[in-house]
Symmetry: C2
Subunit: 414 residues, 2 copies
């Protein structure tokens, strides 16, 4: 019933041209996109996607949190479906591929099957998860979190943007508050195709990343109290200057990350000194610390090391400090069923590949709690993502979609 | 003709109660003041001061930039006057003493002389300089800069606040755009009494600071370029992370300040990493560096050291960096005539005193370009200023005014 994966391949040009077309919604001057969740631009992108799905005969439905499901019916409706998908929303200065590629690669798989009149035993579904980026509404992977039961629907509805509009208001406004329950159902397997968002595949000339899991990660806030004083009259040794504590803990934290190389990651993405006047010693310093490691043991060591180093530095300068963890995601081990399907497809297509642990969180992390899940990575230029310059080669775009096609076909017949 | 400084002293209680009365204009809940330049609160404070001056028989005039001059005529109108003064405007969350003390101490000297029927050879003038703080209109020491010729009148008129009101509009609105030319005239000597705004006098149990000058100072902006990347997937050694450069130059800069202890000052008052997302390696880091030293040679060494250390750290991580100086004020050496008058008065009154170099800029810096100038410091609690908690002891308030009285009397007879 199924044509071999060697004889059917996706239409890479069509997939590329859809990626470019989608990038017009919220297009930015430097080639990137600003299509944040539930904006007019997001609405336009979502509508465009639904039109494409209906054009190839898919049934499209929207759930109560705005997740879009495009379904291509299988031969046996009693079998649980094979799912793929990602997100269409972007960072404020995001790229054309992060998330979008996973959605449109799924659409391309369905389109390829349709034009080749290939029927599958299981139904296939392509999903757009609402608000993966968590920029406008500050919870990343929101739609998949609600669907997988990790976040109550009402909590998601009540999230507010900076102008105080809620998710529920904005879903209603753009007409994407659907009737279907935002609740998981039995899925045979779920796959997500994505650009790596890191430089490893490119550096090693690999085309496919077989993702075996996602690293442990957490985000922390450090608030150091100092004493606001005029920059001129107070001698250095009479100051209570939180920047001095920073000057002590920052190099030590980077040194700790080096001890956990090559997999340990430490990022200081936000920093602010109040009141922020160039001639006033800051009264308060706030800095965020993002800590990641794929191995549980080393991750825990990094957490302990971070705490010890920051507290020692602040104590050294007699400055009160408050440490808090505001987000944590335990590491994920993907399902053998899915990892094997991806590995087999990579081998069948003879693409250079390697196993990888994802450094970033994805909707697939939420799905992995309720369904056998896996991911496929392709290289992106310089590893750059969350950036207008984000780029991927057309041949890699095509390759990843072919792997998705092969893996979904295999899973759909199990 | 002149009563000895030992027999006439100021009325400390009257001075203190005027300080408290002035603090009611723009009073804040935590005991501080918000009386920014040319606001309704500033207008009320200025009117109150002018009433007090007229009550003791002074002639009051306002110049074209709103500087207020209260004059007590001397016996010989052909002699140049002795001037004192400071400012009545405050920071948005300022204290009750910074500036105000210098104005009201001057008023108290004139009041003391009047009630004791003491005539002086030279006229005495108490001045309120407009917009010293430079908060609402972003140029500190504005009124004294215009008067001393350092800033064209029209440039000052054109300064705008955040609501786009100009200095000229606001001077007109509060009725303080005077007719007298905002232009310096010959002055025999100018003194400014001020809280130290630093902790040195308090720490050494001194009551009077004989200020010999103002340190060299400048403010610099460091902008380090990095590459925005996702916090997860990029290995540490493949990042272009401006925070790594910071972790290298910050401790080295503080170490340099220590080499120039105890007088060198280094302050990092503003810091920002863009885009400021906790899970993105910053693409840009901006930090301000305020550099001060009283000695020219060491100040120049600090400037060169700062440049070298920052550039080396950025080169080490292959990050482009841009250094710019956005404000510089050369150091000031006060006039022997004035420093001696203050020293003699301190000795005559037997107050514990020490010589000091001011760490902060004052209206006296502008005056020193066109007139023999000096300053008197008194301790403030914990060295805290630009803060609602700013505080000074009544006995120190009285002591400083007595020194001003003694020094002005001596200078007025020269």
């Amino acid at each position: 019933m199924v044509t071999s994966t060697n004889t059917v391949t996706v239409n890479g040009e069509r997939l590329w041209s859809r990626l470019m077309e989608m990038a017009q919604f919220g297009a930015l001057p430097e080639g990137g996109c600003n299509r944040q969740a539930l904006t007019d631009e997001d609405q336009a992108g979502r509508s465009c996607f639904m039109d494409w799905c209906r054009d190839i005969g898919c049934e499209v439905r929207i759930d109560q949190i705005g997740n879009i499901f495009a379904r291509r019916a299988g031969l046996d409706e009693s079998l649980t479906p094979v799912m793929t998908g990602s997100h269409l929303d972007t960072q404020p200065t995001g790229g054309k591929f992060d998330g979008i590629y996973g959605v449109l690669a799924g659409l391309e798989v369905l389109h390829t099957l349709s034009e080749n009149n290939i029927k599958t035993a299981r139904s296939l579904e392509v999903v757009v998860w609402t608000n993966e980026e968590g920029c406008r509404f500050d919870t990343a992977m929101m739609g998949s979190a609600v669907w997988s039961g990790a976040m109550p629907l009402q909590d998601a509805y009540d999230l507010r943007d900076r102008d105080c509009f809620t998710v529920q208001q904005e879903l209603t406004r753009i007409g994407h508050l659907g009737e279907h329950p935002a609740q998981c159902y039995k899925v045979h397997a779920a796959l997500e195709t994505h650009i790596e968002q890191g430089p490893v595949l490119e550096a090693e000339n690999k085309v496919i990343g077989i993702v075996t899991g996602v690293q442990h990660m957490s985000r922390h806030r450090v608030i150091v109290q100092g004493q606001e004083t005029h920059a001129g009259p107070t001698p250095m040794n009479m100051r209570f200057d939180p920047m001095m504590a920073l000057s002590r803990f920052l190099p030590r934290l980077y040194a700790m990350a080096e001890q956990h190389a090559p997999d340990g990651r430490l990022t200081f993405g936000y920093i602010n000194a109040a009141p922020g006047s160039s001639n006033t010693v800051p009264g308060e310093l706030e800095v965020t610390v993002d800590i990641r490691h794929p191995e549980q043991k080393q991750y825990v060591e990094m957490l302990a090391g971070y705490k010890e180093i920051v507290e020692e530095a602040c104590a050294h300068y007699q400055l009160p400090v408050e440490l808090s963890c505001f987000w944590e995601a335990p590491g994920v081990q993907f399902a053998d069923r899915c990892v094997n399907a991806v590995r087999n497809a990579a081998m069948a297509n003879s693409y250079p590949s390697r196993e990888l642990v994802s450094g970033a969180g994805h909707d697939a992390c939420n799905l992995s709690r309720v369904a056998p899940t896996g991911m496929i990575f392709i290289p992106c230029e310089g590893g750059v993502s969350h950036n207008q310059k984000e780029n991927a080669l057309p041949e890699h775009i095509t390759a990843g979609a072919n792997i998705l096609l092969g893996a979904m076909l295999a899973l759909a017949e199990e």
